[in-house]
Amino acid sequence: MRMRAAFALVLAAAACGGGDVAVQLPATRAPIRDARPTRLHAGETLTVEGRGGPFTAGATTQVILPGLRGFKGGPMILPARAVGPDRVLATYDSAVFRYTGSSVVEVEQRLPDGTTKRLSSDPRAPFAFELAPRDVATAALLAERALPSLPGWLVGALTLLLVAAIVSLPIPVLAGLIVTWERKISAAMQSRIGPNRVGPRGWLQWLADGVKLLLKEDVIPTAADARLFRAAPYLAFLGLFLTFIVLPFSRTLIVADLDVGVLFLVSVTSLVVVGILVGGWASNSKWSLLGGMRSAAQIISYELPASMALLTLVVTTGSLRTQAIVAAQGAAPWDWFLFRTPFTLVAFVIWFIAALAEGNRTPFDLPEAESELVAGFFTEYSGFRFSLYPLVEWVNLAVIGAVGTALFLGGWRVPFVTPEMMATSWLWDLLGFFVFALKDVAIIFLVIWIRWTLPRFRVDQMMSLCWRYAVPWSMACVLGTLAWVWLVPSGVDQAARIALFALVGVGGGAWFALRVRANARAYSDLVLNEKLGGGRP
């Protein structure tokens, strides 16, 4: 448990029976003694170690910290246990608390004979703990401390604005790069070259397209509901943008590690469907309305298996926090949730299919089926408003990748490096971010690859896949995971992970590689335009 205690409060009570309590701090950390809220984060545990005593082993013990006001305003009371005659240990994670100035630590033991023994520390001894940057929201608190002369609310608001800008500004760039990459991948899969004129090897094509869109006339159809028509793209954008709050890009690079992270993720992505439906309805066009209706039916249907698949992870981890889910996985592939149990493996597949459907990606791009509905729900849009929908769609690829990475593929964990080691330097964090980005990019590639492989479903097939397959299978996964967590002993669990990884990861991968080689050879004699040097630019 100490291993995970990045946030430690060590109390050394020389004589706990109302005697002195000295607070011992890690030498490298600067003490913080103020009344601002402090919170614990993923993988961090508040450890209170009381030395002194005598403590009775086996007694129900709790550590009471009257100086730390908890979430509901009362004193923090932590369940503890006596680990020796002179030591009690209390651990706690997931908490917001506020230091009120009192440094008293009380240890209360209910003895087997029914009496209660209460030991209290010296209130004069300073009570200190350190605050390290855990997520970007913590940055607001840090900034408040760094600028004591300015009003706290101003510093906090400015910090949050800055954070919002940092998160939102790269989004168009991200979408643009993914669009360009997708065009390059699709070209390669169709033996074409793809964009290659704007910028080095065509990598600035997105910029030219974006400028073109911004310069186009902004048309609002006469019969449209102009107010909703204007608002709809922003709704869709908002739903997607909010997910960035809980995506853990690295150990510290997360806007806010909410306690309800996964729930938040599932709920804000439903906002996108509101944007799409409103846009389709407000356009007052048959194509748009059909697209919007299809989208609503599709996204709402697939939310069910998607949430259920994520529930398997919540069941395994016991937490909804994204960082906690990352922390519950290991760096090695067989410690990922992908291979944790057969049920989480199936859950990943179901979640991935549902994510494709929720993102309107082929083979689920019925809402914008260009061969049937022109452009579906955004048929009537033009210019900047038009550009928002594709932007949402392509950034959604990155979000799918990030969610999959964090929840199933081990997140930012670097192989052979423990989280404690990663806490020692920001360079480790950077490396963790790159690992995360790498996995994200791999999933984005997979999504694009699927788009250029599979044809579009019919509406009935799409619904059948959801209700006849994805929903019951995801339910089975939740139940199966529950049973697994309950019943399977840890030795079998370990063996099963590695076996699953070997079978599915290595075996399936090898079989697939052989199929790719065979298919590559099948067409190896087909060479066109050799004389002109057909090849990559």
Binding site: L213, R515, L532, G533
Partner: protein, 338 residues
């Protein structure tokens, strides 16, 4: 094939999806078959074309005997050769090939009697021959007329050696060299020459009022039409005088309808042919006057008055008639990106 059951279909879906993905991934690693025409190919595209490709025609004037066989045999008069007698003897003063018209049939090459040894070619070539040059796209049509002899210059015909001496075919530059040079020159020199020629043609066809209404011109035209009218008044005569563009500027769906309306008296505004300008107004007015039994002299005077009333000195109409409204455009998005 037997339809798989519930679990069978899941297995089938996984297997077929994986197979599909393996095929697309295999394609992903292949080199693309498309090339980056025109500017990033390993060799110029013409060099990848087959030897007998029919691109631009070219003529090696150094070995042309001015026999005019190609000009004579061309089925659509693409080739124009002028031969003049000068002090120094027969010379060619023009050798034009209008590739805008050419259908690349190759009859000119067939009929050319002189064989040459072109540089870099295994087979004997003709003096007029196809090249592998093909990039003829242009915004100015005149640039497609290849002038192998520039205006004002001349080329002496080639005198073939006697049979006994002709052990070796006469040498000729590599195929395409001449075509490339001439095409480059055509791009630069032809458009201004063409513009000048066009201006001259328009000047010759002056349709300003002073010319159209000059007494002798007007009288001659009146007499000419009077002979045609001869008491009868077919609408075809009026239609002939109109511009016949069916532009609907007059308000009638076609020139024929307008002509019939004038002939029947249904439309008394006889000056509404916008593209026909002053000339159409004059001729229609003459016809109407003649029909009413006026003498050619009286008709000419009345027509001149009408033309002056409705046209400016340069012949353009004074009143811009309302053109029919364009087809109503609906507001709609322009579609766009995938």
């Amino acid at each position: 094939m037997k339809r798989p059951g519930y679990f069978g279909s899941v297995v089938e879906a996984v297997r077929t999806t994986a197979e599909g993905l393996s095929i697309t991934l295999a394609q992903y690693f292949r080199r693309p078959t498309t090339v980056q025409y025109p500017d990033r190919t390993a060799v110029p595209v013409r060099e990848s074309l087959p030897s007998r490709y029919r691109g631009f025609l070219e003529v090696d004037l150094a070995t042309c005997t001015a026999c005019k066989a190609c000009e004579r045999d061309c089925p659509i008069d693409v080739i124009r050769i002028d031969v003049e007698k000068r002090d120094e003897g027969r010379v060619m003063s023009r050798f034009d090939i209008d590739l805008g018209k050419c259908m690349y049939c190759g009859i000119c090459v067939e009929s050319c009697p002189v064989e040459v040894r072109a540089e870099g070619e295994a087979e004997p070539q003709k003096v007029i021959r196809f090249t592998r040059e093909f990039e003829g796209a242009t915004t100015a049509f005149p640039t497609l007329t290849f002038r192998f002899i520039k205006p004002g210059e001349a080329a002496p015909p080639y005198k073939p050696p006697k049979k006994a001496e002709a052990a070796e075919l006469p040498p000729s530059p590599a195929r395409g060299e001449i075509a490339r040079r001439v095409r480059a020159e055509a791009r630069v020199e032809n458009p201004p020459a063409f513009a000048a020629a066009l201006a001259q043609t328009l000047a010759d066809r002056d349709e300003s009022l002073p010319r159209l209404l000059a007494p002798e011109v007007l009288a001659a035209r009146a007499r000419e039409l009077a002979a045609k009218v001869d008491g009868d008044f077919p609408s075809a005569l009026v239609a002939e005088a109109l511009a016949r563009t069916d532009c609907e500027a007059c308000g009638w769906p076609s020139c024929g309808d307008y002509a019939r309306a004038i002939a029947s008296g249904a439309d008394a505004q006889t000056w509404k042919c916008l593209p026909g300008a002053a000339k159409a107004t004059r001729d229609v007015a003459l016809l109407v006057q003649l029909r009413r039994g006026a003498s050619p002299e009286r008709a000419a005077a009345a027509a001149a008055d009408l033309v002056r009333m409705h046209h400016r000195a340069d012949g353009s109409p004074k009143t811009a008639l309302a053109l029919p409204a364009p087809i109503a455009s609906t507001s709609s998005s322009t579609g766009g990106g995938q």
